[in-house]
């Protein structure tokens, strides 16, 4: 089912000493009835994907919060220029100078973007666009001339997660994936950076002005973060290619939709990123396609799910909240209506009686009327006796408070906004549902405990 072939892997695998880890994967392979090497590869690929996703998500969260998301896109393209530049300088392809060149190109992109934006008065988005496309064009020209040396554009552009678990390399006496040599240092640098500058990063991400006022240099934080992003981008690009953008932006965006706390957002986005690469890799094996590409697609699907189902900002949740609010408003309209009816009947001590139909009419007869009546009866504000409905004592108090809110607001509007009398009812009808005891108290104090509203009706419940 899984077909992998890569240079020298079989030989390397044959030479490796048996370690407990391998025994475990061997057992798993037996269980799944798959070749042992395939399970081994899959295991390492998933680990590499997880490390890569973790690095990217950690820095990506800060990019998202600082509205610098497109920097990742720009960096990943201009990396090509760095590689090309080093090739022009040295004429050879050694991994370490190439990495350094790529890193330099990444930082250069950020510096040039700011430089063009500031000095040429070009809007920031245009400035990003100008810088990274020019660098990319330069890179493509150089690479196209370097065909006789093996400088593979495909590899730079697309990376391949599927091979990440195949290229094993002896490190510290063990066979570990080759990409660990850049990914693990990148992860350590990211973690150290976050640990040291946590306070400053939080402050300058959420309130840049305050950060500057307190004496933290915005510029230093910007370029320090950019450098770390460049390190992460360059090392992750070996695995996922240009799609590093997806890993930098999508998991943090999903986490942002799910939580409002930075620390939660960080670990959540790491988890989501890992989930994307793992599922993406498995799907790629199943459909014989690109793991990095499918990771991005999985991210997109998760994002859509989050948009619909997120507990705080999700569409479903917002719809439910709206319906609940509308039910409450309908129910409160019934209470206020019954209270006014009692007031008009002049028999102040009589218990307010009404029919089911009348109550429905007070609730607006809409789809929500039935739900509103149920809302009232379950809270024991309204009681049903055969075909008649009547307010309970607690219902009466609730209704009194509502009408009090309404009339206080009318009085307040007249006092402060000089509205004509026939313009007072409608705003008060909307506001009465949102004025609690605290607000009632404040208005009462401000208006010196008014007895009646502008229409001359008594304000109840003083």
């Amino acid at each position: 089912m899984i077909e992998f072939c890569h240079r020298g892997t079989a030989a390397l695998l044959a030479a490796r000493p048996a370690i407990p880890l391998q025994q475990q994967t061997d057992q798993l392979a037996e269980l799944l009835q798959l070749p042992a090497t395939d399970v081994q590869n899959a295991f390492w690929t998933i680990i590499v994907g997880a490390v890569c996703a973790t690095c990217c998500s950690l820095v990506g969260c800060f990019l998202l919060l600082r509205r610098m998301s497109l920097l990742g896109d720009a960096l990943s393209h201009s990396v090509l220029a760095g590689i090309a530049g080093i090739y022009l300088l040295t004429g050879r392809i050694d991994p370490i100078p190439m990495l350094l060149g790529a890193l330099a190109a990444g930082v250069l992109t950020a510096v040039l973007t700011q430089f063009v934006h500031r000095n040429a008065a070009v809007p920031e988005d245009s400035s990003i666009g100008i810088v990274f496309t020019s660098l990319f064009a330069f890179g493509v020209v150089v690479v196209s001339q370097a065909r006789h040396v093996h400088l593979d554009l495909d590899c730079v552009l697309f990376g391949d997660l599927s091979f990440a678990g195949v290229n094993l390399y002896p490190t510290f006496g063990r066979l570990l994936p080759e990409s660990f040599r850049t990914l693990i240092p990148a992860l350590i640098i990211t973690l150290v950076f976050l640990a040291i500058f946590w306070k400053e990063l939080c402050l300058s991400s959420f309130d840049p002005t305050l950060a500057v006022t307190l004496g933290f240099s915005a510029g230093i934080m910007h370029y320090a973060l950019t450098t770390v992003v460049a390190i992460v981008t360059v090392s992750a690009m070996e695995v996922v290619g240009l799609l590093v953008v997806a890993m930098l932006i999508v998991p943090p965006a999903i986490a942002r939709l799910l939580t409002d706390r930075l620390s939660t957002m960080l670990w959540l986005s790491c988890g989501i990123g890992t989930c994307c690469t793992t599922v993406g890799y498995l799907a790629a094996v199943r459909w014989n396609s690109s793991a990095a590409g499918l990771s991005a697609v999985v991210g997109g699907i998760l994002l859509l799910t989050a948009i619909v189902l997120s507990p705080r900002h999700g569409m479903v949740e917002r719809a439910i909240r709206t319906v609940r609010l509308r039910i409450r408003i309908c129910a409160e309209d019934v209470l206020a209506g019954l209270f006014r009816q009692q007031e008009r009947s002049a028999a102040a001590d009589a218990v307010t009686v009404s029919t089911v139909d009348k109550c429905h009419a007070l609730a607006g007869n809409g789809l929500l009327a039935g739900a509103a009546i149920r809302w009232l009866t379950t809270r024991n504000l309204l009681q049903k006796n055969g075909a008649t409905m009547f307010l309970t004592d607690s219902g009466l108090r609730y209704a009194q408070s509502l009408v009090r809110s309404h009339r206080l607001w009318e009085a307040y509007l007249q006092e402060n906004f000089d509205l004509p009398p026939d313009h007072l009812h409608d705003p008060a009808e909307a506001m009465e549902h949102f004025i609690g005891p605290g607000m009632q108290q404040r208005i009462t104090e401000e208006l010196d405990a008014p007895e009646a509203d502008p229409h001359g009706r008594t304000i109840p419940g003083a």
Binding site: D73, H77, D125, G129, V141, V250, G299, G300
Partner: protein
């Protein structure tokens, strides 16, 4: 003087540069410069799906697919902005990377499945291959250029209003959303006809760099549009000639590098905004019309 093929490519890149200059002017002024990039990246899955469905490499089949998914990407950007708390940059990054990821996954799938056919060659669309441009491609580009220029002229007043004062445009009773969609469609069409010639990333560059360079020379929209399309056209022609002269150098990147060079030159020497002008070195060249103050500024 030139081979027939060079003339075809020259005509294609010239008109591509012109139309990109016109459309890009609005993108740059409206701070939507990177929408071209987003549309170009999101065109990829449509291209692949069109290939998978019809098994044809004909441009007439592939480009409508690319256009559809490019527009879908643009619409997704507006929807996400409208219905989520995510910011502009994040939304653009998300759409760009997810659509592009889908495109790469589909391409890899196609490559693995139709190993023997040359298939939809991905790299062609990433960096473009202007040298293989056909006469039909050029006709397409010319038609797009003509239609774009006509539409922009017809709606010039409205688009100008939209670019500088969106709220006022709305208050005046113009549908800002409608004009927005119009610009989006024009951008998408330009990007998509440019894809085979200059590729995903570099089409986006043609939409940004010439208008940004033109901005140094003038404060008037009409002039900016004309200068931008001239710069776009000149870059297209120069890039093509360079790549014809030095065989093996890819056309698309050379076009972009030419326009970058023009951008840098404009930044240096443009009147009033240029670096040299500001530092005072060029003042002697301009006759004193009495409009400058003691510091040499107008």
């Amino acid at each position: 003087m030139f081979g027939n093929q060079t003339l075809v490519v020259l005509a294609g890149t010239l008109f591509l540069g012109i139309t990109a200059g016109i459309v890009g002017t609005f993108a740059v002024l409206r701070r939507r410069a990177l929408m071209g990039d987003v549309i170009a990246h999101s065109a990829l899955p449509g291209l692949c799906l069109a290939f998978l469905l019809f098994h044809s490499r004909s441009v007439l089949i592939l480009l409508p697919g690319a256009l559809a998914s490019g527009l879908l990407g643009a619409i997704t950007v507006s929807l996400l902005k409208r219905f989520t708390a995510l910011r502009d940059d994040a939304v653009q990054g998300i759409v760009l990377s997810v659509f592009y990821g889908a495109g790469i996954a589909l391409t890899r799938f196609i490559q693995n499945r139709y190993r023997n056919e040359s298939g939809a060659d991905l790299e062609t669309f990433i960096i473009g291959r202007a040298a293989t441009m056909l006469r039909a491609d050029v006709y397409q580009i010319v038609v797009v250029a003509a239609v774009t220029a006509t539409i922009v002229m017809l709606f010039y007043k409205e688009l100008k209003l939209l670019s500088f004062d969106e709220q006022f445009c709305h208050v005046q009773g113009w549908s800002a959303a409608g004009l927005d969609i119009l610009l989006m469609v024009l951008t998408a069409v330009t990007v998509v006809v440019g894809l085979p010639a200059v590729g995903v990333v570099l089409t986006a560059a043609l939409l940004i760099i010439p208008p940004a360079a033109a901005r140094f020379w003038t404060d008037r929209l009409s002039r900016m549009m004309i200068i931008a399309s001239v710069i776009g056209g000149v870059s297209g022609v120069t890039g093509t000639l360079l790549s014809a002269r030095f065989a093996g150098l890819p056309t698309g990147p050379l076009i972009v590098l030419t326009s970058t060079l023009i951008f840098i030159l404009s930044w240096l020497v443009a009147p009033h905004r240029g670096i040299l002008w500001k530092s005072g070195h060029l003042n002697d060249l301009i006759p004193d019309d009495g409009l400058t103050n003691a510091e040499g500024q107008r």
